[in-house]
Symmetry: D2
Subunit: 250 residues, 4 copies
């Protein structure tokens, strides 16, 4: 049994600090690094890629809408061509920092509203996947397990990873419950740990299928995030589930 | 005799159109393409790289300060580390579009205030050169002929190109006269053409040295730009000076 | 018979020039001036307000989404509170330039996607109207004739103006046909002039009501805009319809 | 004996939180509220103005350079006209939120690099003062005690307040030591408290003059800021120095 643990990283911006990247990095195997559109700036990207490389954590691009004020969580109505170009831009920028740190870009996971829209909207999913594939077909596209984004990645010739969220509530249709809804984000460590173990071993149901989960997302933007990451990492190890990077899990 | 002709390209942004890229592209050998900081956006970058590739024009990154309102022409006081990261970010982003268009990034030329500061300020010049070299030592760094930027490129192990401006007045110290000064920009075609031929054949004096000029910059943001580019291209050909890309000129 | 003629103005940004403000200003009675979010910058606002005042044209704020790249034409999913604050911010900023030019802010008309969403979405319409009313209940809120925005203005205690578009095609439900659809924007001067006269004299049907039209919108962002504005102005005068500012029309 | 205590407020942005506004507000008499250029956004401005009004704290605009990434601390080379328009824009926007909260804008204090440049550069100082005066000559302009900005305010017919910094080291020429220099920011509470009392009672020397200090600045962006504000407030009260708003101090 093996699974990847991913977390959003590099979400600070200029004078503004967000997240606990240094504390969480030891307990994940993949980092989704913001690319300067919804969060992050060149200096933050440089430091975060370097930090990930130091911890042998897989470097991923985390492209989002150009909306720093809304942290990429507000839907923005772009054309497919705009989405494709915007994804290619952000992926390329992050890949450059990986190159400069003598490592390689492994995966791409869209952020926030773009992630959610790409989970159910085929043209958006296809545009995201095309933007990634235009940079390199060797990249792994991470999407909600069983979603339109994962399907689009396959169509574009990318390797894909099905993702699940042990600390988030799901709607009946398999989409994530919006985070502003009460009860959408779990903060009970035991509950999250048990969800993580279950998702890693049993997968998740999506539509009328059971989908194998390749990677679990841990949230980094709350005070207990480092403790939670450590607890999940430890619990998975105790149950004989190896945490390793996406390239080895797939 | 051979020389490169370069022009700033891809300076439109969203709904705002600037320049005459399609009309000028046939008469240059290198395009300095804006990277989304002082001008340009992902869609404009994608289209401009494609246009350059179609015309066999060398694709270059044209990084500038993050100041769309000032078009990158206003000095901004960044740390060396910020400049290095900002250059690496923009170069990487443009290189991604080149990759997607099945071509390669050839050169990097900083824009506006960053170009001018890097011409005389050693720490800034070094930071720019480091940002470029971290992406790839195969890139050609373009700077004002005989400037601190060219010297910094050599120190960082890059190939360098000395640039001159046939349509701009120079100060006695070899720096460019600021464009808001009267007489700083020449609009007489014959004068510009003769300057171009002279610079291509005789080089330019910088300090107490005579420097061979590798590339001539033509400005793209005025109505006569396409006519001017054609006139320079033609005049050089008539005098037996071959216009070709930077990689062949150096 | 009397009617107001309005046009979007001040849409340049930094180095980017858009529109023909000086040529159009003589032929309108109200200017909707961009406030720095989807277009415009402080210097452009200062100059445009001064130009409007010089021509005795009513000064209005034209708030939009914070999306310069999309020119405010891409829907962005904001909370009602965010919209209210964003409108208040932009209206206040423009009112300051009016104050500095010894004139007064007369009206507010939302721009692009915000205008279209506020035409049919009640919570958005209410949020826009609240943002305006919080600045001053003396302002006139301009919305699509018979729309949710006009109704919301009334609820918030504002004076309202019903607007129609002589150069745009309408959907059957009274909303504007999206401008990217073929045929959505009329460029035949005679057609536009006749539409203008008809709308000014007969009003427009909205739902099962006939609504009196208080103001006609002329578009400023195409080459024939000044000629069109002059033609409409002249044609209305010839038919005995007086063009005058919103305060006098209502 | 009386003195004003001011603090920068409303420096959060979207998802990014900065400062301890609620904890500090009880211990100051003037709030310098960011206006959306170097920090702050419309929602943050609305909430901060409301918070200040609730605590009877004087509402001030805190305009800065349009440089969120650099938090307005990086010098940017603007023309005098750009500075004037940019200050007027930000002051107007904040005044609108004050109006909406049924209070009034009392003062304006430029932020960061703009503050520092306006302290010694006459054309910049004049441009700032003009931007303020164009909005209203009733506003109080706050500048470094004895600086060019204070002088420019007087020339433009504004009331002015001389400011000193009990938690900052000064250069011999009376300018502030740049905050990145070691020892530039004091964190010893007793030292800061004693400085505050001394500055309030004896003023500060600027050039060869002794200048009466009207307002003391407390920094809000460090963890001990609330404790420090309370300690200064208490110490001043114990020494019979009344803390009150700028309008009453001048």
């Amino acid at each position: 049994m093996k699974i990847d643990l991913n977390c959003d990283m590099g979400e600070s911006f200029g004078h503004y600090t967000l997240g606990s990247d240094e504390a969480i990095m030891p307990f994940i195997s993949s980092a989704n690094i913001a690319c300067g559109y919804h969060a992050g700036d060149p200096l933050v990207m440089m430091r975060t890629v370097t930090l990930a490389a130091k911890h042998n954590v897989g470097v991923g691009a985390h492209p989002g809408y150009p909306d720093l004020q809304g942290f990429g969580r507000r839907s923005l109505e772009l054309s497919a061509e705009e989405i494709e170009a915007m994804v290619l831009y952000q992926v390329s920028a992050l890949a450059g920092f990986a190159k400069a740190a003598s490592t390689e870009l492994v995966h791409v996971k869209p952020h926030g509203a773009l992630y959610n829209q790409a989970a159910t909207d085929n043209p958006i999913a296809r545009a995201v996947a095309r933007g990634v594939a235009k940079f390199s077909k060797n990249l792994i596209l991470v999407g909600l397990a069983g979603s339109a984004l994962v399907a689009a990645g396959v169509v574009e010739g990318l390797r894909v990873a099905n993702e699940a969220f042990p600390d988030r509530a799901y709607n009946f249709d398999g989409t994530l419950m919006p985070r502003q809804q009460p009860g959408a984000v779990f903060e009970n460590v035991e509950l999250v740990v048990n969800n993580a173990a279950r998702l890693a071993t049993q997968g998740i149901s999506s539509g009328n299928m059971q989908v194998k989960v390749d990677t679990l997302c841990l949230h980094g933007d709350n005070p207990i995030a480092p403790a939670l990451a450590k607890a999940v990492w430890t619990a998975l190890a105790e149950r004989g589930i190896d945490v390793m990077g996406l390239a080895k899990v797939l």
